[in-house]
């Protein structure tokens, strides 16, 4: 049985302090209710299983360093900002900038994600179940970004390292990015991601994008 923490009318400090205490004593996951007004919730956690019932505010799971955080509704802006370890799962959609500045961990958005998703991703695996907005994967330096649906304009602008896989169409590509044939290793990897998070899609139907150069600014 998951323990419940009702955030109604409480501020970040109160909820965060209580949540950390509950995680510290152990005894299973914690379900957070009425937390959509809180921004930066579950920041910098090293462990714990937290379910946010309904929608979340901005910066959910910022600097996450090991916790498993799930949102049953939609998440606000900058989900899993600068995460290093752990997993953030969003059942609904995310606003602008999910998975920015991450060094590691996994972000899964079952719905659609907004503009500037995965900007400056430095090593996380980021899965988007439906479509993404514009400027997604900007200046990505490492990691895998998997977009099951369609992407907007300027996808992967100044990609430096890492891979972007797209199941649908893109409106346009950014600078320093090229299409590359999907290898068997890619298919296996995608198959694994999709199976793990029960996302229905044919791994062979993806197209793969990689950087043209690792040093587009420096000769």
């Amino acid at each position: 049985m998951s323990r419940v923490l009702d955030a109604k009318g409480k501020d970040l400090r109160a909820v965060s302090t209580q949540l950390k205490e509950m995680i510290a004593v152990g005894g299973g996951g914690v379900t957070l209710k009425n937390a959509a007004h809180l921004h930066g919730l579950c920041g910098g956690l090293k462990s714990g299983e937290i379910t946010i019932e309904g929608n979340s505010g901005d910066y959910l799971g910022v600097l996450n360093d090991g916790a498993l955080i799930r949102v049953t509704g939609d998440a606000g802006k900058y989900v899993a900002d600068n995460m290093t370890r752990g997993t953030v799962l969003v059942d609904g959609d995310t606003d602008y900038g999910a998975g920015q500045y991450c060094y590691g961990g996994t972000v899964v958005v079952r719905g659609s994600a907004g503009d500037f998703t995965a900007t400056m991703n430095k090593g996380a695996t980021i899965l988007i179940g439906k479509d993404v907005g514009d400027e997604v994967g900007t200046y990505m330096l490492a990691g895998d970004l998997v977009i099951v649906g369609n992407a907007g304009h300027n996808l992967g602008n100044y990609l430096i390292r890492g891979n972007i896989y797209v199941g649908g169409q893109w409106a346009s590509l950014g600078h320093n990015i090229k299409e590359e044939p999907l290898t068997e290793a890619d298919v296996d990897k995608l198959q694994g991601y999709l199976a793990e998070y029960a996302i229905k899609a044919d791994p062979r139907a993806f197209r793969k994008l990689t950087p043209l150069s690792e040093k587009p600014f420096y000769k």
Partner: protein, 514 residues
């Protein structure tokens, strides 16, 4: 800057050992990182490449016979103003490469600066002077006293501002940490992530567990949260005693940090998470701050992640000091660093360093006014940065209303730098801004740390002298009344009283009443 003949390199053959006994000495050949000298067929030292000389003077410093003179050639061109040697060579550089100039160091040339301000000593009309030798002077600056569970107590009104690992060598970073510990002041990671020893060195310990203290009294480390977020994690944020949100810096306001690929070694690449040899280009703004509300949320979650224990700081470049400082204070921070155009840099476009931003002395008065208008002056601590060279500059900044000052470039110089301005090339002859092992080996962290500590010690003595001769025994009692502007221009810019006239310029009286 590859200027043709910017420096005249002269080796006096009468004094040079090698000229007398070929092969006996080749110090200059060894120490010059730009291959200006070579040994010719006869085993003699020859100046083979004048044009590469950047004027760092390390060859002159190390020459055992004092046989070398490095003189700037610019003076010959001054009569050709505005077509000075630098301007001519800049055009050649662009014509040759199609690229604008990038360089390290800060602004060159005459912009309004502290030199046009004087300190007023006390005689009969003010509090009598205090005796530096026999009386105390209060210098402590506390950050986050009412807001944080672990406030920072700087022993002196001095910090080392953010200088990144990458721009600086590991040895230079450690030297700064040691000096911060020895002087009880604060160091700063800069935006390049953490050098492992930095937190406990800053606290004065030689081990991670902080059981063996070597440097008293121990200082603090500020960790920088920046737009590139290099090497940033929850552990990084918690490793500091305060978190500084970098919005901008004086040498390149409106632009992100820029570490040239030449300095991105394996170690730097690993800390920053980028490919070896690639430029580390920080974005010019935060991808995860779209509005002022977002900035407030960042301050709030950084407080949460550091358990409401540690101060949150904002660093600003010189733009619209009144409004910027007001917004920074309203975002809920405990301290603000405001960097003027004179601020140093590891690498920036020359024209931005020279021409974008406003002078430090013009930043401080509006910043102080913004804090006063919010009732937060002396509560939210204001640190003035940018071209502060000594205790005299520092006291002027303090009297204008700042709570403390930062020494960036001056700290580099205290470690040995001779202001050659070629930091971006990664060949720093003193091992300060280089990542090359053979150059880094020239800088011993403990020795450089001692030099830095000596420099700060002398500087705080200067601050003390000037504070006390103005009649105060607490730096917080210094005020604008202790300063005078030397010329109408400076009086107009700063609101200080003009010498002789003994009043402020009329519009300052009318507009701000105080």
């Amino acid at each position: 800057m590859p200027v043709v003949g910017a420096f005249c390199v002269t080796v006096h053959k009468d004094a040079c050992i090698n000229a007398q006994v070929p092969g006996k000495c080749a110090t200059c050949v060894e120490v010059c990182p730009y291959e200006v000298y070579a040994i010719d067929g006869n085993g003699q030292v020859a100046v083979q490449n004048y044009n590469a000389c950047v004027g760092c003077r390390i060859c002159a410093e190390f020459c055992p016979e004092n046989a070398i003179r490095i003189n700037p050639a610019e003076s010959e061109h001054l009569t050709r103003y505005p077509w000075t040697l630098g301007q001519v060579e800049e055009i050649h550089h662009k014509a040759l490469t199609g690229e604008y100039l990038l360089r390290g160091f800060g602004t060159m040339g005459p912009l309004p600066h502290f030199d046009q301000i004087l300190v007023v000593p006390s005689q009969l009309a003010a509090e009598p002077p205090k005796d530096k030798y026999r009386e105390e002077c209060e210098m402590e600056v506390v950050i986050g006293e009412d807001t944080c569970e672990k406030p920072i107590r700087l022993k002196y009104p001095v910090i080392f501002p953010a200088m990144s690992f990458g721009a600086l060598s590991r040895e230079a970073k450690l030297a700064l940490a040691i000096a911060a510990a020895k002087m009880g002041i604060a160091g700063n990671t800069g935006e390049g992530g953490l050098v492992e020893e930095e937190p406990y060195y800053c606290h004065g310990y030689v081990d991670k567990e902080e059981t063996q203290k070597k440097w008293e009294p121990g200082g603090y480390l500020v960790v920088q949260w920046s737009t590139g977020r290099w090497g940033v994690s929850a552990d990084f944020v918690r490793a500091g005693d305060a978190v500084e949100i970098k919005i901008g810096q004086g040498a390149k306001p409106g632009m992100g940090g820029h570490l040239l690929g030449a300095k991105v070694t394996e170690e730097i690449a690993a800390v920053r998470g980028i490919p070896v040899g690639s430029d580390a280009l920080s974005p010019c703004r935060y991808y995860d701050v779209l509005s002022f509300e977002d900035l407030k949320k960042q301050v709030a979650f950084l407080r949460d992640i550091t358990n409401y224990e540690k101060p949150i700081w904002i660093k600003l470049g010189p733009s619209r000091p009144y409004d910027d400082v007001r917004l920074a204070a309203e975002a809920g921070v405990d301290a603000i660093s405001l960097d003027g155009i004179a601020g140093g840099t590891g690498a920036s476009p020359d024209l931005v360093t020279q021409g974008a931003g406003i002078p430090t002395i013009a930043c401080i008065p509006p910043a102080v006014r913004a804090l006063k208008d919010l009732g937060l002056h002396r509560k939210v601590k204001l640190f003035a940065l940018g071209g502060i060279r000594n205790g005299l500059d520092a006291v002027k900044a303090l009297a204008m209303g700042a709570d403390g000052v930062g020494f960036g470039t001056a700290a580099e110089i205290a470690m040995g730098c001779r202001a050659c301005m070629a930091c971006h090339k990664g060949n720093c002859p003193y091992g300060i801004t280089s990542q090359k092992p053979e150059l880094r080996a020239r800088l011993d962290p403990e020795e450089a740390g001692q030099r830095l500590a000596n420099f700060i010690k002398a500087t705080v003595e200067e601050i003390k002298i000037l504070t006390m001769l103005s009649g105060h025994s607490d730096i917080k009692d210094l005020s604008e009344e202790d300063l005078r502007a030397v010329d109408p221009n400076t009086a107009a810019i700063t609101g200080l009283k003009l010498i002789g006239y003994e009043r402020r310029m009329p519009w300052w009286e009318n507009e701000h009443g105080n």
